[in-house]
């Protein structure tokens, strides 16, 4: 695979679609969990809000921020695959995201094959280690949010 093919792989249509029309990029009223992070090397910032409902699943998830196409697409995809999951499942999917971005196999016990398959659109990151940080930023912000419950009124 030459450099140009790799660039096309990185910026494949599905990534460009998520970056141009990000899903769930919006504010959320009264989230149960929230966090904000920035990447000091580029000044990008992402905030993630979660609503974990009475059943203990992520009933709503949204993000905001100013970031590159990779970070935006990763955030958008993340909100889609994490909706309806438990925090434990979210952590499992984060581990799979890391494995895929590092070029490893993502097959692991715990199901969620469909979600894992969707994360494979980020597999070109294995050729761009400097951009793994961009894609990881929203995920790490999501993990920070899980550890940061808001005071309920």
């Amino acid at each position: 695979m030459n450099a140009n093919d790799r660039i096309r792989d990185l910026y494949q249509d599905v990534i460009l679609d998520h970056s141009r029309r990000p899903r769930n990029r919006r504010a959320m009223d009264g989230p149960s969990h929230a966090a904000r992070s920035e990447n000091p090397s580029c000044g990008d910032e992402v905030s993630v809000c979660l609503q974990i409902d009475d059943r203990g699943v992520i009933g709503d998830i949204a993000f905001r921020g100013q970031s590159c196409a990779i970070a935006t697409a990763s955030a958008s995809l993340m909100t889609e695959v994490l909706a309806g999951k438990t925090p434990a499942q979210a952590r499992t999917l984060f581990d799979r995201f890391r494995a895929i971005a590092a070029g490893g196999a993502a097959s692991a016990p715990g199901g969620m094959e469909t979600e894992t398959g969707r994360l494979n659109m980020l597999s070109a990151l294995r050729h761009f280690p400097a951009r793994e940080k961009c894609a990881a930023l929203p995920w790490q912000t999501m993990l920070a949010a899980l550890d940061n419950p808001k005071e309920r009124q």
């Binding site: 030459n2 450099a3 140009n4 790799r6 660039i7 990185l10 910026y11 460009l16 141009r20 090397s41 580029c42 000044g43 990008d44 910032e45 100013q66 970031s67 590159c68 196409a69 990779i70 935006t72 761009f128 951009r131 961009c134």
Partner: protein
């Protein structure tokens, strides 16, 4: 390296050097081994010289032959090699003295970098001359290295940091700068050329205005020595700093120029070997300039390499280098202007060969990534100048900077890849 070679350095005049022969960029490129290296299967197009310049073989050879033939620690007495190494090190200092047209050799202090030079002045000048309520005036175009040392000093000494504003073209209007000079202004510290935007600041007028208000002046010449050169006596600046690695020289070596009387009046920055006249446990007397500010074994080989870089730039002639770079800048500026989604940040009429730009709906990192796929290396980010980014309301820009080895064909390859970025991302 021979002592004779060290002692023959060219005149510092900006217009001198290279004579009137046409600028032969292909011959220049042959001096830079890395330019032959393919990147991602394509010829390297290196457009990040403002971050760090590539090195000519002459610089590498100078360091190598210094290690191979002349190396020992300096100022270590009587044996032959230490004397040779000391001569080489001092010879490099004289080359820098001539390059900056400093009055005295001992006004040239070798540091690690421009950053260390500014920290030295903040610490030592700040210690001797600044007290609670005194003001230091900088500009909105500064690199973090000319902001943070003053903030650290503010914490220690209670100084007030004032910032001259930047206009929409990326200039610091002289009258705005002058307005902020007051009876408590002790020091004005500003870049000669903005690293983020390429703006050339009216430093001669700024220095005159600051001196008129009784302030001392530090000029950050990191970006200017490469394009314009500097005559510190004509400028009459009190301090001037630059980094070797941006001047086609080694990393880990920089220069602080300071006027003799000021440097003499300032306390040492670091303590250690080489900076003392005599030490007892009761009292230490310090060595005279420049040793007072060069504690410990310095970057000897890197200083020798910097001397070779100064020779190299002098041989080509800064005037001819600037003329070549201006052709590249003008060509790139006019071609980029045809790209609808692209805006250039920093449109001052007097610019060094730096173009900062943004594209509607495309993050600078994505621009740089696509360019990298074509072997084109540009910088994307805040350029260690986040206040400049904030002034223009962007988190980051993409920045192409041109050096003495770049060609029109490389500018074209760059612009055509940017056009592909537009086709890929902008709908």
């Amino acid at each position: 390296m021979s002592v004779e070679a060290i002692e023959t350095f060219p005149k510092p005049s900006v217009a001198a050097g290279g004579g009137s022969a046409p600028y032969d960029v292909e011959a220049v490129r042959a001096d830079f081994p890395i330019l032959d290296r393919p990147v991602r299967g394509r010829p390297l197009v290196y457009l990040d010289t403002a971050a760090s310049a590539q090195k000519p073989a002459q610089v590498m050879d100078a360091e190598r032959s210094f290690y191979a033939e002349d190396y020992a620690n300096i100022h270590r007495g009587l044996y032959f090699l230490s004397q040779r190494a000391t001569e080489c090190y001092d010879g490099a200092r004289r080359k820098v003295q001539a390059f900056l047209n400093a009055q005295h050799e001992h006004e040239i202090i070798f540091t690690r970098s421009a950053t260390e030079g500014i920290n030295l002045v903040a610490s030592s000048f700040g210690e001797a001359f600044l007290k609670d309520g005194d003001e230091v005036l900088i500009t909105g175009l500064e690199h973090h290295s000319n902001i943070v040392p003053w903030q650290l000093l503010r914490r220690r000494k209670g100084i007030v940091l004032k910032v001259a504003p930047v206009n929409d073209r990326g200039e610091v209007p002289l009258e705005e700068f002058t307005k902020l000079l007051g009876p408590r202004t002790r020091l004005a510290a500003f870049a000669h050329v903005s690293n983020a935007l390429g703006t050339v600041l009216p430093v001669a007028d700024m220095i005159r205005a600051a001196h008129g208000a009784g302030a001392r002046v530090l000029v950050d010449g990191s970006q200017s020595v490469v394009h314009l050169g500097a005559d510190v006596q004509a400028l009459d600046c009190d301090f001037f700093v630059f980094s070797g690695h941006k001047l086609y020289g080694p990393t880990g070596i920089g220069v602080l120029y300071g006027k003799e009387a000021l440097l003499d009046a300032m306390p040492p920055y670091q303590g250690g070997g080489d900076m003392i006249a005599g030490v007892t446990f009761e009292k230490t007397t310090f060595a005279p300039l420049p040793a007072k500010f060069e504690a410990g074994t310095p970057a000897i080989a890197q200083a020798v390499g910097l001397g070779a870089a100064v020779d190299y730039v002098n041989r080509l002639g800064l005037g001819r280098i600037r003329a070549h770079e201006t052709i590249l800048l003008d060509h790139a500026t006019s071609r980029l202007a045809a790209i609808k989604s692209l805006s250039v940040m920093g449109t001052a009429p007097d610019k060094a060969s730096v173009i900062s730009f943004v594209m509607d709906g495309v993050h600078p990192h994505d621009i740089a990534q696509v360019l990298d796929g074509e072997g084109v290396a540009i910088r994307a980010g805040h350029h260690c100048a986040q206040p400049v980014m904030a002034r223009f309301g962007v988190p980051a820009t993409a920045r192409a900077s041109f050096g003495l080895y770049n060609t029109i064909a490389e500018v074209d390859a760059f612009v055509e890849t940017v056009e592909r970025v537009e086709a890929l991302f902008v709908q």
